[in-house]
Symmetry: C2
Subunit: 260 residues, 2 copies
DNA sequence: AACGATTTGTTCGTATGTATC
DNA sequence: TGATACATACGAACAAATCGT
């Protein structure tokens, strides 16, 4: 009796799921049936104990519950594969993620117009843009969807100084065909010649759960990509944060010579 | 009464945490105190309702509970930063992650001797090594720690054919100073000239939870890096899967010219 | 070392609400 | 509409871990 009952039940169900006895999409026995199934000596276990076991499986991302229907083994969604582009000459589509034509084949990407704000820089933004904490920055925020499915949240920060130097495009709530990096080159002569990316995986915030349509119940992480771009003098040009839901995204990188 | 009580309580506590009223590491009021605090008209709410609220916060990674002590706001650990190396000439330390000297300064990495097995290839392994499903492969598995903290689990797969062609080092349960990639070049003349990486974030398996010492309670993801290496003829040389706990790891990539 | 107080963990029972078929 | 299934909320009892006396 070392293991609590609810863990024993969860462990047994987990085994059935991972062995394939319970296939993805399959319905588990109802809570009432499981009470009977795991009882001993004709004595049922409590419905609450069954529910505790199911909660443990939910927290591990193995099952989901649907009121009025039952408990179901989670289906694996086919992840969307994005190429991380390491060539500074090849443009900078989607703020750090290069969507190859093949991968987007037949898919319908949508991008909202940016929400533009002037803000005091957070510590994170200030350090990446080498500003004083609290210095003024432009933030441009966009939401992206693919085939109607929420795909990414992206915010890019630029020093306020760029506007006073003449890059008034930064304040316009619209997308530019060749991207803001090219706009800055045209209007200020600032050319991005390199960047540094940091990749993080973490639990989603409340806003992110809402946008990505993640119920409180599912246990998923989000990717956070932070990209700092630099000009020829080594000064930061912009700082971009992009968030992706980890359950429907994978990223690919290539190095050297590979086939295909 | 649209929102269930346990969510209202969780939401209020979340606000206190994110506003800083409850700092990282701080102890929440005990369950008994919270019963009183969120009751109305002198009537306390049930302890189970308080506990449901706390479970919700746990699942979001905001707090942790310690028996006999209380519930505490989660502390953010300082993540370990690894550089992803995109230069095929610069070696391939740590199976895909290049640990710069600076980042390892003062840290003590430990690597177990590999556990070597001959296995039938899974579908995943077979497809990356371009073998028939069920074909024989060598698997070499290692665990890595830094300063005693579990850091990564790594398994590399090689075609069994390499052994019959003379690369008997593949079967030795020891580490080679310059890495297996160099060994294959020396013994078979197979030179890795490029690779493809896939990056995934997902919930940890049971084994991974054990190795990384993640309790059932904390909601964290793991990074999974899959690297397929190719030789000059475009044939796969090896397939490496490395798993990192996402709560203590970040990854960095650089492109073009950047300062520092 | 022992004990009691405090706090969280597990298990049960019960009632009622809401969603689905 | 009724039956079924999960969701919320309450109460109760005992176990296990921790801490101070």
């Amino acid at each position: 009796m070392a293991e609590p009952m609810y863990r024993q039940v969860a462990e047994d169900l987990r085994r059935q799921i991972e062995s394939g006895d319970l296939a993805p999409g399959a319905r588990l026995r109802s809570e009432v049936e499981l009470r009977e199934e795991y009882g001993k000596d004709g004595k049922e276990i409590s419905r609450n104990t069954v529910r505790d076991a199911i909660k443990l499986l939910i927290s591990r991302g193995l099952v989901e519950t649907r009121p009025g229907q039952g408990t179901f083994v989670m289906r694996q969604v086919v992840p969307f594969l994005s190429r991380l582009n390491m060539d500074p000459e090849a443009g900078d589509v989607e703020g750090g993620v290069y969507k190859s034509e093949v991968e987007l084949q037949g898919r319908a990407p949508e991008v909202t117009d940016p929400r533009v704000e002037v803000q005091a820089a957070s510590d994170l933004v200030a350090s990446h843009l080498q500003l004083q904490p609290g210095g003024q920055v432009i933030s441009r925020h966009q939401q992206r969807k693919i085939d109607g499915t929420p795909w990414s949240l992206q915010t890019t920060f630029y020093p306020m100084e760029f506007v006073t130097r003449g890059a008034t495009q930064l304040l316009m709530a619209e997308n530019f065909k060749d991207g803001m990096v090219k706009e800055l080159e045209a209007s200020l002569g600032i050319k991005q010649v390199g960047w540094r990316d940091t990749i993080i995986a973490r639990p989603p915030t409340g806003n992110e759960r809402t946008f990505f349509d993640l119920s409180d119940k599912v246990q998923v992480a989000v990717f956070e990509f932070r990209r700092t771009g630099y000009d020829e003098d080594g000064n930061p040009v912009r700082f971009t944060v992009t968030v992706y839901s980890a359950d429907r995204n994978q990223f690919e990188m290539r190095a050297g010579r590979i086939p295909g």
